[in-house]
């Protein structure tokens, strides 16, 4: 009896990819909105040159989202950017799902090499701090506490930003 060996094409993880795509849109729009209102995020991006681009991408050919600094804010570019000045990679769909859902913080993800960076490491450090602020506004403290080394203070302004993001900020990106 002869055994037939066939090539195996593993299934596409459609559900997880869909979740990642949705979180990318929420996160990107939240960044666009928060970068217009939060003083600390404004300060973090102030030294970046106008037109500076960054993308977050799931390797090898997964979803990605881009941001561009324009007029002192970060503009959400969706999947329009193919390359960027700073590229933040998620090693695979599982890693991206874990970080985006959010079961794991960016520091742990970098430590476990689930995320890597191509580009200026100083700007990447500033972006990580801005990401922590956006997450602290998006998620309640009991979740954020597990994800970051120090929870940024939820000031009255930030509480207002949270309400704004959940009502119109994410939808309008303003």
């Amino acid at each position: 009896m002869t055994v037939e060996y066939r090539p195996i094409v593993p299934k596409i993880k459609r559900f997880k990819i869909l979740v990642i795509k949705i979180v990318f849109i929420v996160l990107g729009r939240a960044f666009q909105s928060a970068s217009q209102h939060d003083e600390e995020i404004k300060r973090e991006i102030s030294s970046w040159r106008d037109g500076f681009t960054l993308i977050m991408k799931v390797m090898p050919d997964g979803p990605y989202m881009g941001l561009e600094k324009k007029n002192n804010m970060l503009e959400f570019k969706g999947s329009k950017l193919k390359q960027a000045d700073l590229e933040i990679y998620f090693r695979n769909v599982e890693s991206a799902f874990m970080i985006m859902t959010p079961q794991m913080g960016s520091h742990q993800a970098f430590a476990e090499k689930r995320m890597s960076i191509k580009g200026d490491l100083g700007i990447a450090t500033a972006f990580t701090r801005a990401l922590v602020i956006v997450m602290s506004v998006l998620y309640p403290e009991f979740i954020v506490k597990r994800l970051v080394k120090r929870v940024p203070p939820l000031t009255i302004k930030r509480a207002g930003l949270r309400v704004w993001l959940y009502t119109l900020g994410i939808v309008l990106g303003r």
């Binding site: 742990q108 960076i117 580009g119 490491l121 100083g122 450090t125 970051v148 120090r150």
Partner: protein
């Protein structure tokens, strides 16, 4: 505690011991190299080490393609481009870095340009940008501190654009790290002390930060113990070859540790202070180490406590209650700094190192953007950095 996930990578062949240098020609041959280019500096050449190096190639049948001995203390892209041109002109096929951190980083920079067949180093700056296997690179450290012979990183200044370009890629790992005690015998006491404290910081920070893992821990602990046993003799009696070799090994082990688990606030502050006030890196490490540990105490009291064993020895560790070990670790480092200051005048604070108080704010701002802080257990903001700097000032 075992991390939920970790990676560890060190493919560098370590060759260590008496007359290790004489094995270099045969090692290059194994790597397929026939015409190495040597990158070094005036200090190394002046100490007679280049002559020892050339002698080791005697009767080997190998030609040294060129020797460039003018690398400045801070490696720059201009020097990298100049060496690259010589490498191409003399049809070299491999690189040997004979020197300290600047020489090693310069050789790594040259390797990027000759491998990528480019003249623009900036294009390859950043993490994981490089995609090609490089030309054979052998590193022979002439200081015991940077660990650059086993790390994935290089930092090169772009003087024209006034920026420091960091490079991080596994392709930057040298093929061989060659440790020959003859190469560090002439290192002056103060530089011996400063570079040793750099190695100490690599090991200590790698043991307490977020990316630590059992493999890097093993290298870190072994490095610290070896430094503790040899550092004072290396400074007071530099001609002791056994002690010099031990320090070279400790530095390499510390390099392997931090290359796999990264560093933390001590390095972030050190890089910033070095960039703004031009304090030698090892001096900055010596100044900031106890303050960095003190800052991290609330987050990693237990891990700092465990370091008491390699830093102070088994007897001290056994008689110190567990709850006091972390503080004792810091005390022992403070004592070590005092001993080094007495022996060779190694500065213990920023004022002694020539920093003026008006620079502290600028250093704090630069430190929080240094990539080293990402893996530090505690999130350091500009206010925290400034508070540490004020403590370290005098």
């Amino acid at each position: 505690m075992l991390p939920s996930y970790y990676e560890f990578h060190n493919p560098v062949k370590i060759i260590s011991g008496n007359k290790a240098l004489d094995n270099l020609p045969s090692e290059l041959e194994i790597l397929g190299a026939k015409r190495p280019m040597v990158v070094t500096d005036k200090g190394v050449a002046g100490a007679g080490l280049v002559k020892t190096f050339i002698d080791s190639f005697g009767s080997s049948g190998m030609t040294i393609g060129a020797i460039f001995d003018d690398v400045p203390p801070d490696s720059s892209s201009e020097v990298v481009e100049k060496i690259t041109a010589i490498f191409r002109q003399n049809k070299c096929d491999s690189l040997v870095a004979l020197g300290g951190g600047s020489v090693i980083d310069t050789a790594k920079g040259v390797n990027i340009l000759v491998t990528e067949n480019s003249d623009d180093l900036l294009k390859f700056s950043g993490a994981e940008v490089l995609k090609k296997k490089m030309k054979p690179l052998v590193v022979i450290p002439t200081t015991s501190g940077t660990g650059s012979e086993v790390t994935v990183v290089a930092v090169i200044s772009d003087i024209k654009r006034n920026l420091k370009m960091p490079f991080a890629s596994t392709y930057l790992l040298p093929d061989i790290a060659l440790l020959d005690p003859r190469m560090t015998l002439t290192l002056p006491p103060k530089m011996t002390a400063a570079t040793a404290m750099d190695a100490m910081c690599h090991a200590v920070e790698s043991y307490i930060n977020l990316q630590k893992n059992p493999m890097s821990d093993a290298y870190a602990v072994a490095a610290i113990e070896m430094i503790r046993k040899n550092i004072l003799t290396a400074v007071s009696d530099g001609t002791n070859a056994q002690v010099r070799l031990a320090m070279a090994n400790a530095s390499t082990m510390a390099g392997i540790a931090f290359s796999n688990s990264m560093v933390g606030v001590v390095h972030a502050l050190g890089h910033a202070a070095g960039g703004i006030c031009h304090i030698p890196h090892g001096v900055a490490m010596n100044i900031f180490l106890p303050f960095g540990l003190e800052y991290n105490l609330p987050k990693c009291h237990e891990n700092i406590g465990k370091l008491l064993l390699p830093i102070a020895g088994a007897e001290v560790y056994a008689r110190t209650p567990e709850s006091r070990r972390a503080e004792q670790t810091i005390n022992y480092i403070v004592e070590l700094r005092k001993a080094l200051n007495d022996l060779c005048g190694l500065p213990m604070n920023l004022k002694q190192a020539g920093v003026t108080e008006d620079k502290l704010y600028e250093i704090a701002q630069a430190a929080i953007n240094d990539p080293s802080i990402v893996m530090n257990p505690r999130e350091m903001d500009a206010n925290d950095a400034l508070a540490i700097l004020k403590k370290a000032f005098q």
